[in-house]
């Protein structure tokens, strides 16, 4: 019986199987941010176990609320900052260098095919775009990861999602994943790895693949995963050129992780995107999805472009393409939070930020920002936001606020009209 990529990664990292069906894995990366890590640090201190298993495998960033907005968030940052220093963690990113964790860490070349990655953040599944097994965990799992470099998982079942066809104009990875979540349902992939394959995925950039894998958790998935290929090699080449003689050598090494042809899947979903339209959520669950045209005319007060789902350069380019020469509708507040300093800089160099500013957007530093209603950009009760983020839960962006999830292009078109708009109808 063949193995899936997830099973291969499990086999290569198995520390032990303490009970049948429970796999304790060695970790290559333990990623940390300032919301869920300080509690883990405090608990480790309280237990007299303030140690780290390997400072080089731990990466940390302050990203959710930065600059700090009040004393409490300042203390969270301080705890993480001092801990990183105390344990000589070389890769710690503070203000000036920081950005949204799931945009920043991949961009630094920290994630490689075949890696095991955990973070105290549910969207850790994003890193599976590189052919890694990457899972969000709670603070206790994070704590044990920091201390021991291990994490326990159940046997991974995989759902294969084959994506075929041709993406129509103004239909993007975000629309594809919203459509897939709609098909699977919010718990359709619980305890499963979602393996994204097919010609549409092959043709996607790493930016687009990360949008796809980012939302695996919205269907309950443990990880979203893509098979590492030439696109992966090209992206990682600046970081791996000393480890491999050539790109060909890297590619053939990465291929050892590919799922076998006779691997077993819990479920196979075939999607053809040829007729897919821009997608928008309604209600308070990410599987409540309609086409932008069905939702057309729904008014919004705010547009938010950024986050770990859609805060990368390609996303900003796609929004700018729509925004160019237009202005936000009166009474619509536009907020752009580029994912990382590198994205910010490149968007500036390419004139993309100017397009956003001309349209009337406010541009913040790289941060999670408005995504989760605990930093800036909080909605008032009764207000609605067109957002490129990943969660439309009740109160997510502020008590009594409504969030409509969509692609950067649809969000841009929606901002221009002041109501949900299919970018093709602009």
């Amino acid at each position: 019986m063949g193995q899936t990529i997830a099973q291969k990664i499990f086999a290569a990292h198995l520390r032990e199987e303490p009970f049948p069906g429970t796999y304790v894995l060695d970790l290559d990366r333990v990623l940390c941010h300032e919301i869920t890590t300080p509690v883990a640090i405090a608990d480790l201190e309280w237990r007299g176990k303030d140690r780290v298993f390997d400072p080089n495998k731990i990466k940390a960033v302050i990203d959710h609320v930065t600059p700090a907005k009040d004393s409490k968030t300042a203390i969270q940052g301080k705890i993480l900052r001092e801990w990183a220093e105390r344990h000589s963690i070389p890769d710690f990113f503070d203000i000036g260098q920081n950005g949204v964790c799931h945009a920043l860490f991949p961009e630094k070349g920290f994630i490689r095919p075949g890696f095991t990655v955990i973070m105290g953040d549910s969207h850790t599944c994003t890193h599976g775009a590189f052919g890694a097994f990457a899972a969000g965990v709670g603070t206790t799992d994070l704590e044990v990861g920091i201390l021991k470099g291990v994490c326990a998982f159940r046997k991974p079942q995989s759902i294969l999602v084959n994506i075929a066809g041709t993406l129509p104009e103004h239909v993007y990875a975000k629309d594809v994943i919203l459509h897939i979540i709609h098909k699977l349902g919010v718990n359709g992939a619980t305890d499963c790895v979602i393996e994204f394959r097919g010609p549409v995925v092959d043709a996607m950039s790493m930016d687009a693949r990360m949008t796809l894998t980012n939302m695996a958790i919205e269907a309950g998935g443990t990880c979203g995963i893509c098979l590492p290929d030439q696109v992966t090699v090209d992206y990682l080449w600046p970081f791996i050129s000393e480890e491999y003689e050539s790109k060909e050598a890297a590619l053939s090494d990465f291929k050892k992780w590919h799922s076998d042809d006779d691997a077993e899947y819990a479920k196979v979903l075939d999607i053809d995107v040829t007729g897919l339209e821009p997608q928008v959520t309604y209600d308070y669950k990410p599987d409540c999805v309609k086409s932008a045209r069905e939702m057309a005319g729904t008014p919004v007060n705010q547009v938010y472009i950024g986050t770990c789902t859609n805060g990368r350069l390609e996303d900003l380019q796609q929004a700018a393409e729509i925004l160019r020469g237009h202005k936000l509708a009166p009474n619509v507040r536009g907020i752009l939070s580029p994912g990382t300093p590198k994205v910010f800089r490149e968007a500036m160099d390419q004139g993309i930020l100017a397009v956003f500013m001309d349209a009337g957007f406010c541009i913040t530093n790289p941060t999670c920002g408005a995504c989760l209603g605990m930093s800036n950009g909080v909605l008032a009760p009764g207000e609605a936001c067109a957002a490129t983020s990943n969660r439309n839960f009740q109160g997510r962006m502020g008590k009594g606020g409504m969030v409509y999830l969509m692609s950067p292009a649809t969000a841009a078109a929606t901002g221009i009209k002041g109501a949900v708009t299919d970018p093709r109808d602009l």
């Binding site: 409490k72 549910s122 965990v137 709670g138 206790t140 605990m374 009740q394």
Partner: protein
């Protein structure tokens, strides 16, 4: 840390209750569990449910439907239950991270088939329901007035070991 599981139950009759509803992100700036206490389920909109009400105050068991605890990985969700004395959740199914967080904290996330969950919900129509949990025997008993129902549940040996050890940190530290 030996815990007593069971007690008066509160019924949340909906699927897909997410961790933003259990504890909203605006309280994630707290670095102690105790500070979360007043905010449990604050954003949950459910007819008949009052986050400030007596029923929640009294409860030590939560009964819900499918996919309980979906969304954000925040362990603040189980903690906000814990500091309110709720160590047991009974549902038809869970989101993976929430379920693991519960066991990692040495608490119980018990899964029962839909038919059993229906039966417990039906008991709630006749008054308050008290649940007792037999962890060794993998059995739970629901009592409401003169009505009594017994259910068997499965728990993986790993999850059971975590609850017995008082959580994953203790377990892992002895072992790895």
């Amino acid at each position: 840390m030996k815990r007593v599981f069971g007690g008066p139950a509160i019924f949340l009759d909906r699927s897909d209750i997410n961790t933003d509803e259990i504890i909203p992100a605006r309280y994630l700036t707290e670095v102690t569990k105790e500070a979360l206490k007043p905010y449990l389920l604050e954003d949950l909109k459910l007819s008949g449910f009052d986050p400030g009400g007596k029923a929640l105050q009294k409860a030590t068991v939560v009964v819900a439907r499918k996919n309980f605890g979906c969304g954000s990985s925040r362990e603040h969700a189980p903690w906000s239950l814990e500091v309110n004395g709720i160590y047991t959740v009974i549902a038809e199914s869970y989101a993976r991270i929430f379920r693991q967080n519960m066991f990692n904290c040495g608490m119980l996330a018990i899964e029962l088939p839909a038919a059993d969950i229906d039966k417990i919900f039906a008991m709630a129509d006749h008054g308050e329901v008290d649940i007792s949990v037999d962890l060794e025997g993998h059995r739970l008993t629901a009592i409401s007035g003169s009505r009594k129902e017994v259910f068997n549940f499965d728990i993986s040996p790993f999850d059971q070991a975590l609850v017995e050890a008082g959580g994953w940190v203790e377990f892992a530290d002895q072992r790895y």
